[in-house]
């Protein structure tokens, strides 16, 4: 995983609550056995006017001009501004893979779904939870000013608006360190290998039926 560095990125507003993972990346694209290449199909049903198929050349497809990510002012956006319960629905990690592959580094919303929250951090995507009224204000500011960009500073847990306003956010220490240092959490867990083995042995003695050989 790449280290998460402080950046200033253009913000794209997605004014819709309960954005589910089917909307982020429709199921036909889940058939890939790779982790990459999902960006062109991010928000496929909103972004294009036709039905997308896997392995298709998307440059030839008709774009939906009303969809926010197709508007020139949000080209190269790196921050997605969203509404409550972003990422609800399925556990597909293809959703953060698609967002990241598209170029997003951070998403701001009043709340996120639990599984999506975990999946995003494991892929270096920072999720920033702000109060509903703070998010509402950001929506207004983004709308008013073309090229609106936020300075995203994970180290200090804050974002800075173009006017210099500082908004602080909470993130747990473990996830923060993993992002900042680009750590692989399997490697971290395996440092506790002895503790896992010791637990497993005790668990096996106490509840041997949980260890029955299948078939």
């Amino acid at each position: 995983m790449k280290k998460f560095e402080r950046f200033e990125g253009v913000v794209a507003p997605l004014d819709r609550a309960n954005v589910d993972t089917d909307l982020i990346i429709p199921k036909q694209f889940l058939k890939s056995i790779k982790r990459t290449g999902f960006g062109v199909n991010l928000f496929d049903e909103l972004r294009y006017l036709d039905e997308g198929q896997p392995d298709q050349d998307c440059s030839q497809r008709p774009l939906n001009p009303d969809f926010v990510l197709n508007q020139p002012r949000y080209e190269n956006a790196e921050v997605l501004l969203a509404r409550r319960n972003f990422g609800c629905g399925s556990s597909r990690e293809h959703a953060p893979w698609a967002l990241e592959d598209f170029g997003f580094k951070a998403i701001i919303a009043p709340s996120f779904a639990d599984i999506f929250y975990n999946n995003a951090f494991k892929n270096g995507l920072l999720l920033i939870t702000l109060e509903e009224d703070e998010v509402e204000r950001l929506f207004q500011e983004v709308e008013e000013r073309e090229g609106y960009a936020l300075d995203v500073d994970l180290e200090n847990q804050r974002i800075v608006t173009p006017r210099g306003e500082i908004l602080e956010f909470q993130v747990d220490d473990f996830r923060k360190q993993c992002l900042l240092e680009g750590l692989d959490d399997i490697g971290i867990t395996l440092k506790d290998e002895d503790a896992i083995r010791a637990f497993e042995e005790k668990h096996r003695q106490r509840r041997p039926w949980l260890f029955r050989q299948t078939a």
């Binding site: 004014d15 819709r16 609550a17 309960n18 589910d20 089917d22 909307l23 429709p26 199921k27 036909q28 889940l30 058939k31 890939s32 056995i33 790779k34 982790r35 049903e45 039905e51 896997p54 392995d55 409550r84 319960n85 609800c88 629905g89 399925s90 556990s91 597909r92 990690e93 953060p96 709340s111 779904a113 639990d114 599984i115 975990n118 999946n119 494991k122 892929n123 747990d172 220490d173 473990f174 360190q177 959490d185 399997i186 867990t189 395996l190 506790d192 503790a195 896992i196 637990f199 497993e200 668990h203 509840r207 041997p208 039926w209 949980l210 260890f211 029955r212 050989q213 299948t214 078939a215």
Partner: protein, 483 residues
């Protein structure tokens, strides 16, 4: 000190280490694998030259991509016409062979939807931690297990370490008290719960479903309820162990054998919340208030009773909800205040990890028996949850009832719940579906999903529009019989 909740107990029994930063490692007893969310996890293991920690904790079966027509299934993997789907199923087979993981392959009679297969085999036991790269893993919580839906990185993490990195959730109890009316099923209960607490109401919580109406449900009904915990935002749903749980498990292939059975049962009896346990949040519903449910919108919280109507967005409590409702009605092609019974259907889907077990099929068959699917219905299909469910249904003659009524009788898989195979809705088509999600495009591009119980789906197939299953003569007869 107050007592422990069921979730507290399961957490404590599996806690390996608790770190200062609030994260913990919890030990995983069972991982279920399917073809969609596992290939990148196996690839990760391979690249890092890691081996699975404990092979016998894993059990795999292909379900999302498999065709459900009899003819294609007869050909095994080569019956999968979509080359990309075929690669995915083949990749699961190859990975299971390479690493030595037990798999029920496409034409194994034990193959089926992972969340049907695990419990059916006794591979899901009380007191287990169960994970699967699928959000409906909460299903297994019906056994007093701690079951999480996880992402692919976590699938890889569990394979490599037998542990999940987790933070303890808050405790929520959802109580449904009283007696469910005739024709009101587990599906209606969980839809009513989601309608009440909302699609994010359970975010950050482990939900325990309790109360006399929940206790009265069969294991299959309990699985239906826990299955949809994620539709209320909760990763984990669970129900305490009782006689119903223990009776269900006895003699299943992976269940404890003679010498361990008594010890296991004694241990499982403790898998209940203590009487003095405290929950961070308690929600109560009265069973008598729940009528058969139908979803009208594009989120499972957009649901109402069969006697209800489509809401008017103007009546929404805030702007965000108003915009969601307006957008949903536009997508669904419905009018504000339209009666639910006036919604006409084009397709009917009975199946999915929510409602494809034998009792679900019996309920639907009871309604369909001796009737005909309405001419206006383009396709009505019944997709059993596993090969064993299919076999059982055929032994009971349910397949004949469905086929005579005009339903298609299919082979097991996820099918039109998420339409990764060939079973899908066309744009604008309305479907009465026993699945779990009515998101835009979920069952096919532009498709319009209405979530209902199996009996309600069968009744809609016969009538061509939604009807109150309680008003059908079949139910009156049953009522008279039972009374």
């Amino acid at each position: 000190m107050s007592g422990q909740t069921l979730y507290d107990k399961l957490w404590e029994q599996h806690l390996v280490t608790q770190r200062d930063d609030g994260t913990a490692l919890i030990y995983i007893d069972r991982q279920l694998l399917h073809e969609v969310t596992s290939p990148q996890a196996f690839e990760g293991l391979r690249l890092a030259k890691r081996k699975p920690w404990r092979l016998d904790a894993n059990l795999a079966t292909p379900d999302h991509n498999v065709p459900t027509t009899v003819k294609e299934r007869a050909e095994g993997n080569s019956g999968i016409k979509d080359p990309v789907s075929l690669i995915q199923v083949q990749t699961l087979d190859d990975n299971c062979v390479e690493y030595g993981i037990e798999e029920f392959k496409i034409n194994d009679p034990r193959q089926g939807i992972v969340h049907v297969v695990g419990p059916e085999q006794g591979a899901t036991l009380p007191g287990m931690t169960v994970v699967c790269g699928d959000s409906h893993t909460a299903t297994h919580g019906a056994f007093g297990a701690l079951a999480h839906g996880i992402g692919t990185s976590e699938v890889e993490h569990v394979m490599a370490t037998q542990c999940l990195l987790a933070q303890k959730m808050k405790n929520m109890q959802v109580r449904v008290e009283g007696e469910l009316g005739l024709g009101v099923t587990a599906k209606d209960v969980v839809l009513a719960i989601i309608g009440k607490i909302g699609t994010a109401g359970g975010t950050g919580y482990a939900i325990e479903f309790a109360g006399s109406a929940i206790e009265s449900l069969s294991m299959e009904g309990r699985m239906t309820v826990c299955n949809m915990a994620i539709e209320a935002g909760a990763r984990v749903g669970m129900i305490a162990v009782d006689d119903t749980t223990i009776d269900y498990i006895g003699n299943r292939p992976f269940a404890p054998t003679a010498e361990q059975w008594e010890a296991a049962v004694a241990d499982w009896r403790n898998l209940v919340s203590d009487p003095d346990a405290t929950f961070d949040k308690v929600v109560t519903l009265k069973a008598e208030d729940i009528e058969p449910q139908v979803s009208w919108g594009t989120s499972p919280e957009m649901v109402t009773g069969i006697s209800g109507q489509v809401p008017d967005p103007k009546a929404a409590p805030d702007d965000t909800v108003q915009r969601s409702h307006t957008r949903a009605l536009e997508y669904m092609g419905l009018q504000p205040n339209q009666k639910i019974t006036d919604i006409k259907l084009d397709k009917i889907f009975i199946g999915s990890c929510t409602n494809s077990r034998i009792e679900d099929l019996r309920e639907a068959a009871k309604v369909a028996k001796g009737k005909k699917v309405a001419d206006s219905i383009m396709l009505a299909m019944v997709v059993p949850g596993s090969g064993l469910v299919k076999r059982q249904a055929e032994e009971e003659g349910l397949d004949k009832i469905f086929i005579e009524a005009g339903f298609e009788w299919r082979e097991p898989g996820c099918s039109m719940c998420l339409a990764m195979n060939a079973d899908k809705l066309g744009a604008g088509e309305h479907c009465a579906s026993t699945s779990n999600r009515n998101f835009e495009g979920r069952q096919g591009y532009g498709g319009r999903t209405h979530l209902v119980s199996p009996a309600m789906a069968a009744a809609a197939a016969i009538a061509g529009h939604f009807v109150d299953v309680r008003s059908l003569p079949a139910n009156d007869a049953t009522h008279a019989q039972e009374a």
